[in-house]
């Protein structure tokens, strides 16, 4: 009796179509929940999609390689999306040029502290070298962070999760923290949000203030460049 549906599952679970469809379906649902909660940081669609899909793979005993045969079509678009970050940078070039010195200073100092703090802290906590390397690029947008992680032969999957967690924590903490510190310059607030917590911080900044959002987007694009130059350098200096 149970033979036909079971063999159908065996067939479908090996096809890319099933896993691509499930990935998009889970994300669409998680994104709908996120929108319904007015983009609350804790309803982050990436975080929830990841654990739901991981649980589904675990329950069905599916190997990650099988899953990835379908999900790779989505994964491939990370590269073009990184190139596309040039567009907001180009469109806001006047805003960039008008605050170029504060931005460059904040970019270099912020990028160094984002990498340095997590590498030193992770080392002090005694985390294995492979984990430390995977955490180093966590403040840049996940596509770039995973590229950096790959070029260090660390773990891109761990980097992806660390990046998403960093984004969510930054998005939750940035507004209360800046209010407590009495920082009212929305350019500075947005720039910090985009630099420390990339796209998720940028989305949060846009909800709070338009200027903050633009500066967050600029910080995210610029930090993608600077961090990919700095991480290999920092790793050779801080870890030996």
């Amino acid at each position: 009796m149970t033979q036909p549906p079971f063999s159908l599952w065996v067939y479908l679970s090996q096809t890319p179509l099933l896993w691509l469809t499930i990935t998009l379906l889970v994300y669409a649902a998680a994104d709908a929940v996120s929108r319904a909660t007015h983009r609350h940081p804790l309803a982050n669609p990436v975080l929830h999609s990841i654990w739901i899909l991981a649980a589904f793979l675990w329950l069905t005993g599916t190997r990650y390689e099988t899953y990835f045969s379908g999900a790779q079509f989505v994964h491939f678009l990370l590269g073009p999306a990184t190139v596309a970050l040039a567009i907001p940078l180009y469109e806001n070039r006047k805003a960039v040029m008008s605050a170029i010195f504060p931005m460059l200073a904040a970019l270099v100092v912020g990028s160094v502290s984002a990498i340095g703090s997590v590498v030193l802290l992770a080392e002090a906590l005694g985390l294995p070298r492979n984990v430390v390397l995977s955490l180093a690029p966590k403040s840049v947008t996940a596509g770039v962070a995973m590229g950096i992680s790959e070029s260090l032969s660390a773990s891109p999957a761990l980097t992806a999760v660390a990046t998403v967690l960093t984004g969510i924590m930054g998005a939750i903490v940035v507004t209360p923290m800046m209010n407590r510190l009495g920082i009212t310059d929305f350019r500075a607030r947005g720039f910090a949000a985009g630099l420390a917590s990339h796209g998720i911080g940028t989305a949060r900044a846009f909800q709070v203030d338009e200027v903050a959002g633009v500066f967050a987007g600029i910080a995210m694009s610029l930090n993608a460049l600077v961090t990919s130059l700095l991480v290999p350098l920092a790793v050779t200096l801080l870890l030996r």
Binding site: F68, Y90, P102, V144, V164
Partner: protein
Amino acid sequence: MIAGLCVILICQLAGEAIVRGLGVPVPGPVLGLLFMLLLLLLRDRFPSLAFGPLKDDAIVGVARGLLANLSLLFIPAGVGIIQLINVLLEHGWAIVFALAVSVIATLFITAGTFLIVSKLMKRRDAGGAS
């Protein structure tokens, strides 16, 4: 749309080729980002470059579409965490702690640097004017 996507892919391809060829320690797409930016700035400088997808908003349309769904693109790699479940069970809390402290420190230092330099610039400009 296809023409716009082509320009983006060509920038990425150029980036990847240079990274592989010269052994630059930067992800290929990041170099592609720089090429894309340069291409758009050159187009504004030299009107003869403004043809096809560089003339209309084809690139902007594709880029908007990609960036609007940026979150989706992280998911396949993120699900790879199931291969690292042992690392998470052993070091999960230490990782979360390191990330939390680092993100708070980064927010504080970045906003602080921006404000300090912005004030210094204003003071210098005011000093220059008087």
